[in-house]
Amino acid sequence: MKYTVGEPIQDTKAPEGPVEDRWDKRRFSAKLVNPANKRKLRVIVIGTGLAGGSAAATLGELGYQVTSFCYQDSPRRAHSIAAQGGINAAKNYRGDGDSIYRLFYDTVKGGDFRSRESNVYRLAQVSVNIIDQAVAQGVPFAREYGGLLDTRSFGGAQVSRTFYARGQTGQQLLLGAYQALERQIAAGTVTMHTRHEMLDLVVSDGRARGVIVRDMVTGEIETHLADAVVLASGGYGNVFFLSTNAKGCNTTAIWRAHRRGAYFGNPCYTQIHPTCIPVSGEYQSKLTLMSESLRNDGRVWVPKLKGDSRPASDIPEDERDYYLERIYPSFGNLVPRDIASRAAKNVCDEGRGVGPGGLGVYLDFADAIRRLGRDAVEKKYGNLFEMYERITGENPYDQPMRIYPAVHYTMGGLWVDYDLQSTIPGLFVIGEANFSDHGANRLGASALMQGLADGYFVLPTTVGDYLAGSGSFGEVAQEDVDEAVDQVRGKIQRLLAVQGDRSADSFHRELGKIMWDYCGMERSEESLRKALELIPALREEFWRRVKVTGTNEELNQALERAGRVADFFELAELMCLDALHRTESCGGHFRAESQTEEGEALRDDENFAYVAAWEWNPDGTPVLHKEELEYEYVKMTQRSYK
């Protein structure tokens, strides 16, 4: 697959000056919309996760007319609900030396120097307000006996800044946003459309002006127009088929916006989470994450001997290799995700993995139980242990859990500027759907923070600034709408017309395997070239052999899936291309060719300290636009967690 290099991106619209003043400056310079005009302005929000839910609620509260969509039957079910571990904030309630600056520093470093300082600083600043907002909404964060909020430490950080609500932090935060959203729906400022899937973006006169959606119950193709469109449609980890994401997570909304001109930033940056329950069979439909917080008290080990098939309890202490503690003495079991994942892969590659297929390592709580008592462990992790037992049928109090890395999060996403606006004016992208704040690797408990920062605090300001100029927006041209509707209908008709002999799921599974094997935890020129051969061939077969039963005019889950898989095929290719062109290793992107002597990721700052923003090109050769990254505050160093 070929690509061309286009104009670099010069301006990200971040204000100049000291990093700690930039967000204030931007807020002050933002133009305001007067209340009477707000009522006449409509904003479409796709997605009701932490990002979309909080954005829609806040915009509604501010007085805009909001139209909101999600593919589930209720906004409360967005995938954010599944987040377990917690949310970071630089509150320094513990007095353990945390500060906005330290959170900023940790995030830039954790992202392996591939994120923007301005954005990350703002994120750290706003993090403080998020906790206040959530608590006021009634989010029942864990508390200590004195009634104050409890925190814990999380991978990649040496301070305790992660707020949590048992193992259900995402659920509680999302319910807070959902309730705020429902309140606005009752107030009439937000119109909610559940079971609606966005299938295209309407661009008119160069601006994003609406969306084409399919009513998933009746099959009706609807057009919704607005003055601005916000995509908060989540991540695309499901391109791997097996991931910790919800089954419905997809790339359709952002991919189709990409095809309409929005650049795609860093598509290859994928986070592989180290603590998931290993695969048990061919039929498996998704992978389940065990919260990373388990690494606070659990110890990771494998047998020292290759192919040691004794049960864990029969392996004596001195024949166990606590490899994370051995290799990374100062961070031990708490090293960042990418490092922990690759270390697990390495020991399994050496033949020291445990469980079926040797694809697993132990996460052992025996020490913790001895030290804290079974009750204390049960209090802290009881629900996670139960979940593990429900899935595997094994009791983690008696034998160590088995874990293995799995695809978890996508740092890549649509490219946005400091205002969270994409390259299409009027198209804003927030939450996991954009590429913005995590660089090449996201720290644990930072996605929830980013989604809510975007939705509650950043976007409402920057959208306002954009809409202040709405006086000059023209009417939406009918032919632009018609063209988009035709595209959507055409694609559905094509899928229905194939009438082949394989289900969309079977293709998705195969695509996922290609991605995992050749564009997964470790990538090489060879593996990526291989993937770039296999994917187009499989895509071609998909369009020849896929079978979609039923019609468009009904609830048709086979059709929904086929549409999403079709988009995954196109995205997968761009991911491999991006991974191929970035010959360095950084964060979650590990190129076999670029490693230190000890096997750690080796960055190439000379050549790759940039964001790769890809432009869609109908003729099949994407255009690469580079946004150079500069570090004024955090010195670029080789990351070390030793």
Binding site: R77, I81, A180, Y283, R390, R502, D505, K547
Partner: protein, 247 residues
């Protein structure tokens, strides 16, 4: 590999206006490590290849937290396994040769959309009526300005774990949504932040629950048994109290 062979009796209904019927399917070679939904995936894949419409069912997270999945399995909402959503139910709890009956949630406030998919939007409208604390973004005081005693926070959390799946309604002989509604009233009513709206919330939510056509609670207790999050009947008692004493 030889797995279990099962017979499924599944509710099929083309749409809201179709009458619906039970259909029987044989599924062979089911692994005990599969989840219930994976077993249905396997059946659906075979149906698609055979040119038959797959069985529509709702699901998303497949880890027991989004509340999207739900079917009545052998007469019990989410199946007989306690504290488990349908997506977390594993086939190791069934035996070779079993016949399994699968039906959608039954309640007139949850009309069937297709096959096992029902419309639960009534729950959203109950929340709209008052299941929130009004606080515009940016107006909140510092999180530590109001300490919350740990036991209130914990009890509020227990109620807040409701995933809105609707199993309680499906199991209740009266088709009552009391457990769901009460869980939210309890969650918010136990926290200091929830006090200003406590009375109006209880009144509005109970009345919306009635307006949606759910039945009344006669303290049968079926709901709490099938509830995957084990929401307790205490919540209903608290809702009753808040409702009756609301000004």
């Amino acid at each position: 590999m030889s797995g279990m062979n099962l017979t499924l009796r599944v509710w099929r209904q083309k749409g809201p206006d179709d009458e619906g019927r039970m259909a029987t399917y044989k599924v062979e070679d089911v692994s005990p490590d599969m989840s219930f939904l994976e077993m249905l995936d396997v059946l659906n894949d075979r149906l698609i290849v055979a040119g038959d419409e797959p069985i529509a069912f709702d699901h998303d997270c497949r880890e027991g937290i989004c509340g999207m999945c739900g079917m009545v399995i052998n007469g019990v909402a989410h199946g007989e396994q306690r504290a488990t959503t349908t997506c977390q139910l594993h086939m190791r709890h069934f035996k070779d040769g079993d016949t399994i009956t699968i039906e959608p949630w039954r309640a007139s406030a949850f009309p069937v959309v297709k096959d096992l998919v029902v419309d639960r939007s009534a729950f959203d409208r109950i929340i709209q009526a008052g299941g929130f604390i009004s606080v515009p973004a940016g107006s909140a005081p510092d999180a530590h300005s109001v300490p919350v005693p740990k036991d209130s926070a914990d009890a509020a959390f227990d109620a807040a774990t409701c995933i809105g799946c609707g199993a309680c309604v499906a199991a209740c002989p009266n088709g009552s949504a009391s457990l769901f509604t009460a869980a939210k009233i309890t969650h918010l009513g136990l926290l200091p932040q929830g006090q200003p709206e406590r009375d109006s919330r209880a009144k509005a939510m109970v009345e919306q629950m009635d307006a949606e056509g759910f039945g009344g609670c006669t303290n049968t207790g079926e709901c709490t048994v099938v509830c995957p999050k084990g929401i307790s009947l205490d919540a209903i008692a608290r809702m009753n109290r808040d409702y009756l004493s609301a000004k």
